[in-house]
Subunit: 198 residues, 2 copies
Amino acid sequence: MAVSERGPRERMVFSAAQLIRRDGVASTGMREVAAQARAPRGSLQHYFPGGKEQLVNEAVGWAGRYAGNRVARFLAALPEPTPGGLFSEMVRQWTDEYGATGFAGGCPVAAATVDCAESSASTREAVAAAFAAWTGPVAGALVDMGVPRERAGALATLMISALEGAILVARAERDVRALTTVARELGPLLDAAVRQDG
Amino acid sequence: MAVSERGPRERMVFSAAQLIRRDGVASTGMREVAAQARAPRGSLQHYFPGGKEQLVNEAVGWAGRYAGNRVARFLAALPEPTPGGLFSEMVRQWTDEYGATGFAGGCPVAAATVDCAESSASTREAVAAAFAAWTGPVAGALVDMGVPRERAGALATLMISALEGAILVARAERDVRALTTVARELGPLLDAAVRQDG
DNA sequence: GCTCGACTATGACAGCGGTCATAGTAGTCG
DNA sequence: CGACTACTATGACCGCTGTCATAGTCGAGC
């Protein structure tokens, strides 16, 4: 929750992502974003002349980049990188949050997809780009671990799909069960995709 | 889109589910629901004295029951029921829709989770119940196919999580790729869970 | 024919949303 | 000092939303 980082513009984008992932896009007000970012309301139209749509799109883009960047950190944290280990780390980020601070928030990209996929073309594209910015590094990591290139993209999509779905179910149930379940069930499948020769 | 079924009350619940899965809960207006259901606006307060929250909860409940009931139909459509085959059918329902009518709608239960998990306790419970009404039949079907009871619940959760996530990604990308990918990758894993001893 | 209940029909209201208009401040350059 | 730019500060506007209040219709039952 370190909102005090960088300039007001970045704080607003960050706060928007936070509020969106908790309440959804439509229920998140511009005034609320400015307030939480401790930024002046007048700065909204100054930094985001494109209005709410622009702000949402940037928040989604930020979230996608953030998720992509986390992949490298997860890998660095693993003593011996394996696909299943990476997936466990991705899942653990969520179980940790839910255990520590409750089930208040989901994935902002998912929220934007649900709320804007049909109503805003530019946001839909931003969401697609965010998923791509996330899937790419995951697939790259799989290749580095020895997963055949043709299969890495598919497994990355599977990992992200299962994670997103499990986040939904976990929030609904207020229980991390779904998250731990997908990690446990998918781990062996992912590890088995590593090329055994060489 | 057979809106002309049953009484106006059911039509409104059904229309609410339709609109929610397309635009999200917050962006769906009560007047809009009544209009699409070709029901009088005055009937809203008559049939749903609990207001929008009640209507949303019933729509979510309806969706959960619908999903649960589909499981039996999917099984009946399979010449030889297998876990992977069931999952393929579940996925195919979505690829068919997206292929035929476009990527306008997602899962209403997911939409309600994203929009209401934190803001409305009753809706959150309705969503949890909907997931339960869906997971139950899936797990039961797996048991019938020979999956060990201890494992069936976990695999059902995995199936539904992967499907929900893939729906999100597919809508974002406007491409069924994610859906077909999870079906293909998960099929062997699911089939391998069938007890091989008679 | 009257009554009573179920349902329909509208109009009003209060609140909030995003956006615009306008004015103000601060700091910097020339 | 004046001017110009970056940013801040408010207030107003309009559209929309959920909800309420009130009145109307319609069909049984007796």
